[in-house]
């Protein structure tokens, strides 16, 4: 293994669904000689793309789990994480971005910056991942890379500069003019593997010179040397690339490449761009928190020779040899046979087999040095766990995990499926922090929850295919919430004297709504009317009430409880008595505090041909959606709306039939908002009936 850390690139490929990122990855693997034949995404040739290793992914033509793979280009080692494009799987994208040093943002030359590109871009911003853009599908009808570059600037706020201009477009797309070397590049051979460089075609000379000037202009903002050279008209390739790299690393500039992965054009220059412009692990500052030193941040050094090793497990997969844990080493070296500490569990484990992954093939290695991505076998851990040398207790900063918004009851069809189902659920919950599973206390059903309908659907399919667990599903349940809208007082006495030790506790105070917090407890008792030792029990009692609201039995959020008076008994008061008093007090006040039900609201973005705009708006309006706006972009329009999640079930079918299948939509959680009274009443009625049935 090459261990020159300067030549390592850990990159992700992120984009809107169907922008062709899996095809692009496939071509990268082909040109870097990791694979020797090219397969289509949708498996027309019966194989499917190499990166989509899961059967389901091959069938649906979407990439669900990010498969990691490594390849070599120009003496550089490139580790690629292929990320899913659908919003329901954003956790995967976020996790991939967390361990990456740079990214390629793939955009469609026809569709341009689409809604999902905006989400992905926000995620990149959150993790400060430098990126370069690749405008794919330049061979398609309606391709307009210039417009896409404009959209990158206008919609995403990137300082986007073209590194190339296309030679021809749509069916006449032939190659690119490289604005750095000022040469025309053509892609020949059966799979575009032979690069032919020539002088720039005459009709493009003027445009190319102008665009190069713009490129130098943009880059010179970040390099005085380049500015001087530009004034003296002596700009060299190295000088220009250095300035571009500097600006790319700080996210101040986004170099834009273009091509058509499907038609085997423009991929090799993009790889050059990855090696020349994106950061190596040394360029990225990474911090861990020292748990033994009040979580003080510690800067990690991407040096394999440092004795203290720190690594992050970012993805788990269940393979035929047991759990495969994808890991990125940030400092030191992770060697075969080493003893490492799982910081979350505090358990020490011995490293068994270490491998480097290439989609679903693997290569045995003896160590993973700092800056590299690899995988290890036989380690029991969850995604997001930090591993380090046993002499330290560092943790990588926790990743942002959104709360699930939808749940579904599932039931195994037979006993064999039941055992397999629990195995599968255990694995999925470890792999994906946004996927949760529990057993309902009332119905004893197994409930799974996640980020959207498709998210859960895919897991049910995976259960069937990978674990042979056949399950039936109930109706999806939306994660409603309860909250209060008004202050209400309580003064409750819990008294029980029915033989044995008595119970006594009195609590007085009030509850009131609080913004941006789930639960706040304020103890204002003075004079010891409630002895101090019982205060934690009071808090616990109130907090317990929050997990299940009296209206719908959904969690209560946004409540501040203040206790200011109470009474105790020298013999009969106990922690249990005060917990019960808190419960009683809460219920007494809750109904006076004008409780309401809140429902999750989703941000829905529909992209549709303009002629169906009215029909699409109608479908959103019928679903209690508030249409925020419509964006007219010539033949296509983008409609943005806020719609309650409960109304969005089966929307894809409705949208398909309303638009002859020509529209697509993305959906992501936006906020919780109060449900209208009629809906709330209906929900309460239904919940009451369900309770009766269970009883």
């Amino acid at each position: 293994m090459n261990i020159d850390i300067q030549s390592v690139r850990n990159i992700g490929i992120s984009a809107h669904i169907d922008s062709g990122k899996t095809t692009l990855t496939e071509r990268i693997l082909f040109y870097t000689k990791r694979i020797h034949t090219i397969h289509d995404v949708k498996g027309k040739d019966g194989f499917g793309a190499t990166m989509d290793s899961m059967e389901l992914e091959k069938e649906r033509g979407i990439t669900i789990a990010s498969a990691a793979t490594s390849c070599q280009w120009n003496k550089h080692e490139i580790n690629i994480i292929d990320t899913p494009g659908h919003v329901d799987f954003t956790m995967e994208v976020e996790r991939a971005l967390r361990v990456l040093d740079g990214a390629v943002l793939v955009l469609c030359a026809v569709g341009g910056v689409q809604s999902q590109s905006i989400t992905v871009d926000q995620q990149m911003k959150r993790y400060q991942v430098p990126c370069i853009a690749f405008i794919n599908k330049c061979d398609r009808v309606g391709a307009n890379p210039e417009r896409v570059i404009r959209q990158l600037s206008e919609r995403l706020g990137h300082n986007a500069v073209a590194m190339q201009i296309p030679i021809g477009l749509e069916a006449d797309y032939e190659g690119v003019v490289d604005l750095v070397s000022m040469r025309a590049v053509y892609f020949e051979g059966v799979n575009g593997e032979i690069l032919r460089t020539e002088d720039i075609p005459e009709d493009l000379v003027v445009v190319a010179s102008k665009k190069r000037e713009a490129l130098i202009d943009a880059a010179s903002m970040y390099s005085d040397e380049l500015t001087e050279a530009a004034l003296e008209e002596s700009v060299t390739e190295e000088l220009l690339i250095d300035a571009l790299r500097k600006a790319t690393l700080t996210r101040e500039l986004t170099p834009v490449f273009m091509g058509s992965a499907y038609k085997n054009k423009g991929v090799q220059p993009l790889l050059d761009g990855v090696t020349r412009l994106l950061p190596c692990p040394l360029d990225v500052k990474t911090e861990a928190l020292d748990l033994e030193n009040e979580e003080k941040p510690v800067e990690l050094v991407a040096d394999p020779k440092v004795p203290t090793m720190v690594a992050l497990a970012f993805k788990l997969e269940d393979g035929q040899y047991g759990q495969l844990t994808y890991i990125r080493v940030y400092q030191g070296t992770l060697g075969k046979g080493d003893t490492i500490l799982n910081v979350r569990t505090g358990k020490k484990v011995k490293v068994g087999r270490l491998v480097r992954m290439h989609a679903n093939q693997m290569e045995e290695i003896s160590a993973i040095p700092a800056g590299y991505i690899g995988a290890l076998f036989g380690i029991d851990c969850a995604s997001g766990d930090t591993f380090c040398s046993p002499n330290v207790n560092y943790t990588m900063t926790s990743m942002f995990v959104p709360e699930p918004v939808i749940s579904l009851a599932i039931k195994a069809l037979d006993q064999k499926s039941e055992a397999n189902m629990s195995k599968a659920l255990n694995r999925f919950a470890k792999e994906d922090p946004t996927f949760k599973t529990f057993v309902s206390e009332e119905t004893h059903d197994t409930v799974i929850s996640g980020m959207g309908e498709l998210h859960l659907e895919v897991y049910i399919e995976r259960m069937r295919r990978e674990y042979n667990a056949h399950v039936t599903t109930g109706m999806p349940r939306v994660a409603y919430r309860e909250t209060i809208t008004r202050r209400a007082d309580f003064n409750y006495t819990h008294k029980k004297q029915t033989g044995g030790a008595g119970q006594f506790g009195r609590l007085a105070g009030f509850i009131e709504p609080v913004a941006d917090e789930d639960f706040v407890f304020d103890n204002r008792i003075t004079g010891g009317s409630v002895p101090t030792q019982y205060i934690p029990a009071c808090e616990k009692g109130f907090q317990k009430c929050m997990s299940k609201g009296p209206l719908l039995e959904f969690p209560i959020t946004g409540v501040k409880v203040t206790i200011n008076d109470g009474a105790s008994h020298s013999v009969d008061s106990s922690e249990m008595a005060f917990q019960a008093a808190a419960r009683g007090a809460f219920l007494e006040a809750y109904h006076k505090a004008a409780p309401v039900i809140q429902e999750p609201i989703m941000k829905v973005v529909v992209e549709s041909p303009t002629e169906f705009q009215g029909a699409v708006m109608g479908t959103l309006n019928q679903r209690r959606g508030i249409i925020v706006g419509t964006q007219d972009e010539g033949p296509i329009c983008v409609i943005e709306a806020q719609v309650p999640l409960s109304e969005m079930f089966g929307y894809s079918t409705v949208l398909r039939s309303a638009t002859q299948g020509k529209a697509q939509f993305t959906m992501e959680f936006l906020t919780y908002r109060q449900a209208p009274k009629s809906i709330a009443d209906e929900l309460i009625k239904k919940a009451g009936e369900e309770k009766k049935n269970v009883a």
Binding site: A515, Q613, G629, Q631, D632, G634, Q674
Partner: protein
């Protein structure tokens, strides 16, 4: 209580004051009173009615959109639907304007009420964005009919931001006026003017002068040093009124005389 008066058993005996509700209503009223038009000396909230045009003129970057959005928010607080048409700006950017203006407006009040104000405003706002070259009255009419026929949104006010007033725009404006009368809304525009252009013989900026007859109301924003002054050009009580009215340059909100917070 009179002897024969029946008491409603559900009605509480004492009167309950919901202070939070009151505060909220007061905040809403307060914001309404800060209607830019009222501050300019006009005594009712709607200075223009169905089919009328109003315009905010200024050089680039002075605060036309901010004033337009203030007018829009004011209408929305009065439960009137506003269709915001932005030319060349994406929906997200327009939303940011509303976020910004509303945040600045209520920063002087109780910030915790922001979410409730949004709940009021959002259903009364609809943003449409067009590329300038595709924006025409027939396309707009088609879109409006989509909204009105399905009872999705019936606008009372249109705010057209970024319309390029050119010589050939007269036909567009006349057609839009006819449509506004037919569908019952009034229209506010923002108009870019240039500092190097000399005023027309009628004293108006030349960009406005050629269309002056189509507009019932016109306001001009004039930057002077660090301040931006508001000058009523047409339709608001005459040129001499409210001479000192200005915008707060950091928030681009109206500086209300005697209000230290603004």
């Amino acid at each position: 209580m009179l002897p024969n008066e029946q008491r409603d058993p559900l009605r509480p005996t004492g009167r309950v004051f919901y202070l939070k509700e009151r505060t909220f209503n007061m905040l809403k009223k307060d914001l309404l009173l800060k209607n830019p038009l009222r501050l300019l000396g006009h005594d009712s909230d709607d200075i223009i009615t169905e089919g009328d045009f109003g315009v905010i003129l200024a050089r680039a970057g002075v605060g036309k959109t901010a004033i337009g959005v203030q007018l829009a928010i004011n209408s929305q607080l009065r439960n009137q639907n506003v269709l915001h048409i932005a030319l060349n700006d994406p929906v997200q950017k327009v939303c940011l304007w509303y976020d910004e203006v509303l945040r600045n407006l209520i920063s002087q009040h109780d910030i915790s009420q922001e979410a409730r104000l949004w709940d009021i405003i959002l259903p009364h706002r609809f943003i449409m964005t067009f590329k300038v070259e595709r924006f025409s009255v027939p396309i707009l009419e088609e879109r409006l009919n989509d909204l009105i026929e399905q009872e999705i949104f019936v606008p009372r006010m249109l705010l057209v931001d970024g319309f390029p007033f050119k010589n050939e725009s007269r036909q567009f404006l006349e057609d839009l006026k006819t449509l506004a009368k037919k569908l019952g809304f009034h229209v506010w525009f923002t108009m870019n003017i240039h500092r190097h252009n000399q005023p027309a013989p009628d004293g108006f900026p030349p960009e406005f002068s050629r269309f002056e007859d189509l507009f019932e109301v016109a306001i001009q924003l004039i930057p002077e040093g660090k301040e931006v002054f508001v000058r009523p050009l047409k339709g608001i009580g005459g040129k001499s009124q409210s001479p000192g009215l200005s915008l707060n340059p950091s928030t681009l909100l109206f500086h209300v005389p005697d209000d230290p917070l603004t």
